[in-house]
């Protein structure tokens, strides 16, 4: 990895890491009486590890000038490996949390392992650790191919990748120490938030610089989705995290917003995190990898453009549906509900566009689990967006809100859509990135696919049942006009569903372990040179003589 950097870039990396180590040391010193000190020590250790990494390869031969005739795929390769690490960790913690709800003694009586701490560890690890790294890795890959231009330099993409992971590690380690600003999906405190702004703006600049260097005149639609993801997440993150720290020596900060304004800002952020982190970026993935693996152009390119603007402009207004029946003014709630319902149009049009692209390639869906991952992702995308619009309707929300139905809905989206499209894209990219004929074992991809599908279905079914039972029990009155069930009655009724959910989650975790094993075997195995054709070995294709896919 360091061998890919020029001498100047290696010096730049050293400077950044030295500055970071000093910053970590300063945090550790100023915050020595506060959890901030521990976080500072973590920053310093990470920077020192990076320094050793760069120094040990500092005198390795520099890359030749011919590097510009190749795409720069090192950050994508590393990003995919890191994403797979995060998914195993995040799913393990998630399944632990699930078993914790079955048996509350499974905290093993430690403070760091209590529900309130490891639950955000789970959400941050899977959303930002797994999802974020997969988005960074695939966006670099897709942006270079669709622009037919190499990334502008070698250092800044690595800065984005490792800087982003430093943010994730700080966040997760912080929760276990008890650091949180108590905003869902925005739990990290002010210093981590500032660091993420630096990393994210660098990411945005890389994207723009590559687009500025593009050789294709038209910007392919996948880039629009990726760019919306990067730009809007920056805006959301900055506004929602506006806060004043107690002092530079304290991890704690106070939000600039209070009361219902704080709640509205948080859910404007929270729902747009679903929209632009978990939807827009992954639609970017879908619009590149699905046509590529299916060997067919997207069914309707026009529809993908209209959907892009529909999703971008409707989602912005949908957040207030998280605050039905609260102190938020009624008209703001109605606004959120209305835009959530309108969202169904571009959402279903996108899911339909993906599935119609597969017309004429259904035999590939049958034979190739990689494409089947993407097909199932499109189906779950349609399902979860329908469910989301439905649950945003105020009277429906009166039954669903605060129940496990919400958890079921989120996981239909996160497991069924986001994780499936990501696994599909990773299984497609790994052989392309490491120049292999295919995944080491298509059979293991098949095993992963069925474990993932079965796990998702069990999980979602369990939570639908438990959520609706819960919601009904909470609103059942007896003849004398009082509640028929106590809260504890509803907790007891949840027990069997919680066991089922934990088993579904376990299956999903096992599937991702199989995926890691298969990816490791694929990377480790040397490419088979014999029996290759030009189309399987893209580097061999002469410039200006494109190899056409069967779909054309």
């Amino acid at each position: 990895m360091i061998g890919q950097l020029t001498r100047n870039e290696r010096q730049g990396a050293l400077l950044i890491l030295i500055a970071l180590a000093i910053l970590g040391l300063a945090m550790a010193a100023v915050g020595r009486d506060d959890p901030l000190g521990g976080q500072g020590a973590l920053v310093m250790v990470a920077a020192l590890a990076g320094l050793f990494g760069v120094i040990s390869r500092y005198y390795a031969p520099e890359p030749g000038p011919d590097r510009v005739s190749r795409y720069y795929d090192e950050p994508s390769k590393v990003g995919i490996i890191i994403a797979m690490g995060w998914v195993v960790f995040g799913l393990f913690i998630g399944d632990w949390v699930a078993w914790l709800l079955v048996d509350p003694n499974l905290t093993f009586h430690a403070a760091w392992s209590s529900f309130g701490r490891i639950r955000p560890v789970h959400t941050t690890s899977v959303i930002f650790g797994f999802g974020g790294n997969a988005l960074i890795a695939t966006s670099f890959y897709v942006m270079q191919r669709t622009s037919r231009a190499r990334l502008p330099d070698q250092l800044s993409p690595l800065f984005v990748l490792f800087g982003y992971n430093l943010f994730c590690v700080l966040a997760v380690a912080g929760y276990m120490m008890g650091i949180t600003q108590s905003k869902e999906y925005a739990e990290p405190e002010w210093y981590a938030d500032i660091w993420l702004v630096v990393v994210w703006i660098t990411y945005f600049v890389i994207y723009l610089r590559t687009l500025a260097r593009r050789k294709e005149k038209h910007i392919y639609v996948a880039n629009w989705y990726y760019l919306a993801f990067i730009l809007v997440v920056a805006v959301l993150h900055i506004v929602n995290n506006l806060a004043v720290p107690v002092s530079f020596g304290h991890a704690r900060s106070y939000s600039l917003f209070s009361g219902v304004q704080d709640a509205m800002t948080e859910w404007w952020y929270g729902h747009n995190a679903v929209a632009f982190f978990l939807t827009s970026g992954f639609l970017g993935m879908l619009y590149y990898y699905l046509p590529k693996v299916a060997g067919r152009p997207i069914f309707s390119y026009r529809m993908s453009i209209i959907n892009f603007w529909g999703i971008t402009f409707f989602y912005m207004w949908a957040g207030s549906h998280h605050l039905h029946y609260t102190a938020l003014p009624q008209w703001v709630q109605t606004l959120g509900m209305t835009f959530s319902l309108m969202l169904l149009v571009p959402s279903w049009a996108s899911a339909g566009n993906a599935l119609l692209t597969l017309n004429g390639a259904w035999h590939k869906v049958r034979d190739d689990a990689t494409l089947r991952f993407m097909m199932v992702a499109a189906v779950f995308y349609g399902l979860a967006t329908f469910e989301g619009s439905f649950m945003a309707i105020r009277p429906v929300n009166s039954l669903s809100h605060y129940t496990d139905w919400t958890i079921g809905h989120v996981h239909a989206g996160a497991l069924g859509w986001v994780a499936m499209i990501t696994f599909g894209s990773i299984y497609a990219s790994v052989p392309w990135l490491w120049k292999r004929d295919g995944m080491f074992s298509p059979r293991l991809v098949e095993v992963h696919f069925w474990l993932a599908v079965a796990g998702t279905v069990i999980y979602v079914m369990a939570m639908w049942n438990s959520g609706i039972v819960q919601g009904l029990m909470w609103r059942t009155y007896n003849d004398s006009g009082t509640l028929a069930y106590s809260f504890v009655d509803s907790v007891v009724a949840m027990h069997p569903y919680y066991i089922a959910r934990a088993i579904g989650g376990l299956m999903f975790l096992l599937g991702s372990l199989v995926g890691c094993y298969n990816i490791w075997l694929t990377i480790r195995t040397a490419p088979q040179v014999a029996g290759r054709t030009a189309s399987e070995f893209p580097d061999a294709a002469p410039i200006g003589a494109p190899v056409l896919q069967p779909g054309e």
């Binding site: 669709t146 050789k215 038209h218 152009p297 529909g310 008209w331 893209p538 294709a541």
Partner: protein, 55 residues
Amino acid sequence: MFDHDTLVWVSKSFGLFYLIALSLIVVAYAYWPSNRKTFDRAARAILIDEDKPWE
């Protein structure tokens, strides 16, 4: 700063027409006849298996 009535007035007048105008622009762009060739080409171009940046 702004009272409720002002915000409602802005959203019902400017906000409404802004969203209508935006959707018209988007549909016009997507269905503009001369853009058809660009879009068709873009949709097919990603299928070209050529793993090198263009000079």
